[in-house]
Assembly symmetry: C2
Homo-oligomer: 290 residues x 2
DNA sequence: GTTCCGCATGAATCGATAG
DNA sequence: ACTATCGATTCATGCGGAA
């Protein structure tokens, strides 16, 4: 099989998206700048303007997505004047009027959430992963994300080796973790719509601590090798790296040149594997023979 | 301190609520019948009619709640024609127009979600716990729900005994579980807005999907001893039992006489403790000297 | 007293069948 | 065509009986 095509693009996604072909993308996974966050990109959208800002982009995404494709939107409303703002709810309603189907809402449980203390709320440890589709029938490869489970938890309490412990850490509902490869041959079950994953604290370059295992999970679930993945808010390129490792083609767009250059550099590193990258790679799939 | 007053009431909450005094309740915790569910109660509300059905009730709840009080609403939208229905989103927007503040959304991660397999979705393992308030300043006693953690969570990885394993199972982010008593004296941290709890599938006397630890957690967080708790959809009385064990006064309303009689009977059991009840009590607080 | 194993039980969802 | 009912699918949990 050929090397996947990974194509980072520089520019405002509202314009760059227009250059993409109709119905050419199998999966869109993205984490757009949250309202009033990342003011250096897209000018820090005010919560009250968020829906109006995002809808034209959603329309373009609808155009480039294949009928059988899926759009995964990672988002969370921020607190404004002591309340959760409603722009995410309104966005869902507006996108449905635009023609999207709101198929599902996954929960990303951030096991290591941002620390802090407030008098009237606890730490926010979850984000929404909204699944939108163009039609009821879409491609989904559930077997690709199955996790070992069953009554395993009870039976194995006695002899608990180190590897088993690590298995348990990563088990927790969705099967992320470092030793997935060790589970081959065990009894597997399907995951749920709650994903347990830690944020990546290592990457301090990128403001959004989007762990690579997150796009990787959806890429495995909704695409096959050779399919096309799109991230219109590429950032540091997490989605693109996940796509490359899983042998999917990918397009990423970002408005900031620093991100664009950074992603290009990291992709070169990927094609010349180094130790640090090799460690990260283990998290998803064992190295494949070429 | 006196025995708490626990008052189950029989009738349609749309009428019974009118008999309660203005601003007399410190906390409302309830899990209303979901759309198209529980057809024996309130006739199984159609998803499209859900907001219109609930809004008048929400108005009465707003009237009886103290200005510093909190309303916790447990709800989850069902799938209709392959999509998540939007009535919960619309309900939040409508309640805000009614004057409620949408302060927070907690996630209840149901560790034992309903099984099943479908071509285009996974099992649903979470529900919403919507927090509404009348004003930005409300009573919140965060220390009452602190969870033992600290670096103990890391040490546990090395020497993992069976008991530690069980502790870990129940710890999982929010400190529910049966071994809370064992944690006395450990370093404590505040929980997050993600609650990990199993549904109570087979409770001997009462089959309640709503685990008692759930209302108990919010009762500890938002009330003090002697405060008043209200559950307008009492069901099998889970909220009332939790309130009694935590020495809060409580009012519960249900439209079905069988539930009403069942709750009255279970409350009598509570006041004459038996072994099984004593075990359950341990989950929340150690027995108190009278 | 423990631990272990078998079993019933869910705020589910889809697709097919029937009115 | 649109709604109502039914069977098939699936798994974490806790109980009870057994070793």
């Amino acid at each position: 099989m050929n090397e996947p095509i990974i194509r980072p693009l520089l520019g405002d996604c509202r314009e760059v998206l227009r250059t993409l072909d109709d119905e050419s993308i199998d999966l869109i996974v993205t984490s757009p700048p949250y309202a009033d966050q990342r003011k250096n990109t897209y000018g820090g959208i005010h919560p009250d303007d968020y829906v109006a800002w995002f809808l034209p982009i959603a329309a373009e995404l609808q155009r480039v997505l294949k009928p059988t494709g899926t759009f995964i939107l990672n988002i969370k409303e921020r607190v404004v004047k002591g309340e959760r703002h409603t722009y995410v709810l309104e966005l869902i309603l507006a996108m449905r009027r635009q023609g999207w189907l709101w198929t599902e809402e996954f929960i990303w449980h951030k096991k290591n959430s941002y620390p802090g203390k407030w008098p009237n709320r606890f730490r926010d440890a979850w984000e929404r992963l909204l699944q939108f589709n163009k039609q009821r029938q879409f491609h989904m490869y559930q077997e690709a994300v199955m996790v070992p489970m069953g009554d395993w938890a009870r039976k194995r309490l006695k002899n608990l080796s180190d590897t088993d412990k690590i298995r348990d850490e990563s088990r927790a509902g969705s099967g992320f973790g470092k030793r997935v490869a060790n589970w081959v041959g065990r009894e597997k079950v399907y995951p749920t719509n709650v994903l347990h994953m830690a944020t990546e604290t290592r990457n301090r370059n990128h403001s959004a601590a989007f762990p690579e295992a997150l796009p990787a999970w959806f890429i495995k679930l909704f695409t096959q090798e050779g399919d096309w993945v799109l991230d219109p808010f590429m950032g540091s390129g997490t989605t693109l790296r996940a796509a490359y490792r899983l042998r999917r083609n990918a397009i990423g767009i970002d408005i900031m040149e620093t991100y664009y250059e950074q992603v290009k550099a990291s992709l070169k590193d990927l094609q010349t594997p180094q130790l640090s990258l090799f460690e990260a790679q283990e998290a998803y799939e064992p190295p494949r023979p070429e």
